[in-house]
């Protein structure tokens, strides 16, 4: 069974009135475990659509999406949410933490969604947080954290269910340069050490050096790029 994420000629169409918008046009990509891929491209080119389909949030109009070898393209909604829970870790733009849960609970609630929280889960959560330099912040609420710390909690939360795939949509959009570097380097480190297949959408070309591979999205078409070509990116 192939691990990681694989998309085979995936398209997504939206019907806007009489027009048909092609948000994704026959996109194919393979991301191996331990590989960190960046997706760049202009606004409206289809990056979020791509990530949503890879993350089982959206069903493709055509094509196959394989998560750890399993085709999820035509699964019913209920199973999709299960896939998201167990196989996918999302890191979204800022302020996506639950405001009334402290840092530790942010992670444990993911476990609660699957059933019971065991002492082993608590230990794992604590380990993840320590790994991300949040050991001192476990009992803090989101309102007491800095933007960078919040994103680090989001990274820990994405890793909590030990998913095979990590997807990040502009995780540094609300951070200053220093914090952005900090956060992306942490993602890169987790991806390597925990052997996740990771895709990050970003606008910030300075962060591309953390990635193994860069793809460019344009008008719904995904094409590979050399890492060295960072300077010509949008």
């Amino acid at each position: 069974m192939t691990q990681g994420l694989e998309m085979r000629s995936v398209s997504k169409f939206y019907d806007a009135g009489s027009e048909r918008i092609t948000a994704l046009d026959r996109v194919s990509i393979r991301v191996e475990p331990g590989e960190f891929v960046a997706v760049v491209g202009p606004s409206g080119s289809g990056k979020t659509t791509f990530l949503s389909i890879a993350g089982a949030l959206l069903k493709p109009s055509e094509g196959e999406v394989l998560l750890n070898g399993k085709n999820i393209a035509s699964l019913p909604d209920k199973q999709l949410s299960d896939i998201r829970l167990r196989e996918v870790g999302f890191i979204m733009q800022a302020s996506n933490l639950v405001p009334y849960l402290n840092v530790l609970e942010q992670l444990l609630v993911v476990k609660r969604m699957t059933g019971k929280v065991t002492p082993a889960d608590k230990a794992f959560a604590a380990e993840l947080l320590a790994d991300l330099g949040l050991a001192e912040r476990m009992k803090h609420y989101p309102e007491e954290l800095s933007g960078g710390e919040k994103q680090r909690v989001a990274i820990a939360r994405a890793l909590m269910n030990d998913p095979g795939i990590i997807l990040a949509d502009e995780p540094t959009a609300s951070l200053d340069t220093r914090r952005a570097h900090e956060v992306v380097s942490l993602i890169a480190r987790a991806v390597k050490s925990r052997r996740k297949a990771a895709v990050m959408v970003t606008h910030d070309e300075r962060l591309l050096s953390y990635c193994d591979r860069i793809c460019r999205m344009e008008d719904g078409k995904l094409s590979p790029m050399e890492p060295a070509a960072g300077s010509v990116l949008s």
Partner: protein, 373 residues
């Protein structure tokens, strides 16, 4: 449960405020039901506490004591009918008790004089003093509330507008009719008082207002066939026939109904708005894999916890209110009704929270990925 409690602890003021409104509503519900019970008892407890199953009235009297006049001879005929286990005549008139002791203020107390046969199943047990005795026609059993007006066992009082004097043989509990104290007197004495004016008995022999029957299997239609000129109703129907009873209880029930509707809207709208505010948050949780059931449960358990706590506080406040209400207030809290109304309030709250659950189900997890504004 986990999410529900966490959020309630985090946003205390918000939930305390809505809780206070629910407390006030449930408090009002319980007070109204207590008042309704109290009023109903005041209006009809003599009837309600009688150990009778059916009541025979004159045909066309609409189950109203005041409009019905029958001959006491019917009692024997009724007893001969199948399924009738016991029958006893009864009559009610209203009067005013005037205290004998030369009261300068001319103290008068409205009473309902209930004529019954001494020793029959209609005679309530004396809580104090002795019961009725056919050999002592002017000795009566009075409702306890007359004690609050200074009457004691053995006291004699006159009836306003008559030359009759009655002596209190004993007191009975919970015996009121049409909101005033019932005074049980032997039916012979009652006839003398009720039909003092010549011709007021319409020439009937031993006239009475109604005849009370015991017997679970009595068929009212069969009695109407055998004894034309009578109509037989259940005791509950006879209670409805008491003048003003339906209107009074109807008003209270209408208010209770409105309160239930109001509480449904309060809970429904509050949690709906709250859910709308949190739709982004719910979207994120759905994106990371939360199922509708998980989030729906969080909303419902929040409503459950909040309503349960509010109702409990409402009950406590009602008990407190009951303790400080003046004695004359017709307030009577019955545990069974408190339980019923608590469950109704809880059920309404949970039902109206389903609107929010539906909203949660409809939230699109895609919201989380910064697509929909």
């Amino acid at each position: 449960m986990f999410l529900a409690l966490k959020e309630m602890r985090h946003s205390k003021t918000r939930f305390v405020m809505i809780g206070i409104i629910l407390v006030l509503v449930s408090w009002l519900v319980f007070i109204l039901s207590g008042l309704g019970n109290g009023l109903a008892a005041l209006a009809a407890s003599t009837f309600k506490n009688m150990d009778a199953d059916y009541v025979v009235f004159e045909k066309g009297s609409n189950a109203s004591m005041g409009k019905s006049l029958l001959s006491g001879d019917l009692t024997a005929e009724l007893l001969a009918l199948p399924d009738v286990e016991a029958a006893s005549p009864m009559g009610i008139i209203f009067g005013s008790a005037v205290r004998e002791s030369g009261d300068p203020e001319e103290f008068k107390l409205d009473i309902a004089l209930v004529g019954i046969e001494p020793g029959s199943f209609l005679e309530p047990a004396a809580a104090e003093g002795t019961g009725l005795d056919a050999g002592r026609p002017t000795h009566v059993l009075a409702n306890e509330s007359m004690k609050d007006e200074g009457f004691k066992p053995g006291d004699t009082f006159a009836l306003d507008g008559t030359t009759e004097k009655l002596t209190i043989a004993g007191f009975v509990r919970d015996q009121t009719y049409n909101h005033i104290a019932s005074v049980f007197i032997p039916i012979e004495t009652w006839r003398k008082l009720a039909f003092a004016a010549p011709g007021s008995d319409k020439g009937l022999k031993d006239p009475v207002n109604a005849i009370m029957l015991q017997g679970k299997n009595i068929d009212p239609n069969a009695i109407a066939e055998r004894l034309p000129g009578t109509e037989t109703v259940t005791r509950a129907q006879a209670v409805q026939g008491i003048s003003g009873y339906k209107e009074e209880t109807g008003t209270i029930f209408m208010m209770l109904g409105f309160l239930f509707v109001i509480s449904a809207f309060i809970v429904g709208v509050f949690f709906y708005v709250l859910t709308m505010q949190k739709s982004n948050q719910f979207g994120i949780m759905k994106a990371i894999g939360a199922k509708n059931g998980f989030l729906g449960k969080a909303v419902i358990s929040q409503v459950f916890i909040l309503s349960l706590a509010s109702i409990a506080v409402g009950i406590l406040l009602t008990c407190g209110t009951a303790a400080v209400l003046p004695k004359g207030m017709p307030f009577r809290l019955e545990t069974s009704w408190v339980i019923v109304y608590s469950l109704v309030l809880l059920a309404i709250a949970l039902l109206s929270s389903l609107v929010s659950v539906r909203t949660v189900v409809k939230i699109d997890p895609l919201k989380a990925l910064g697509r929909v504004e």
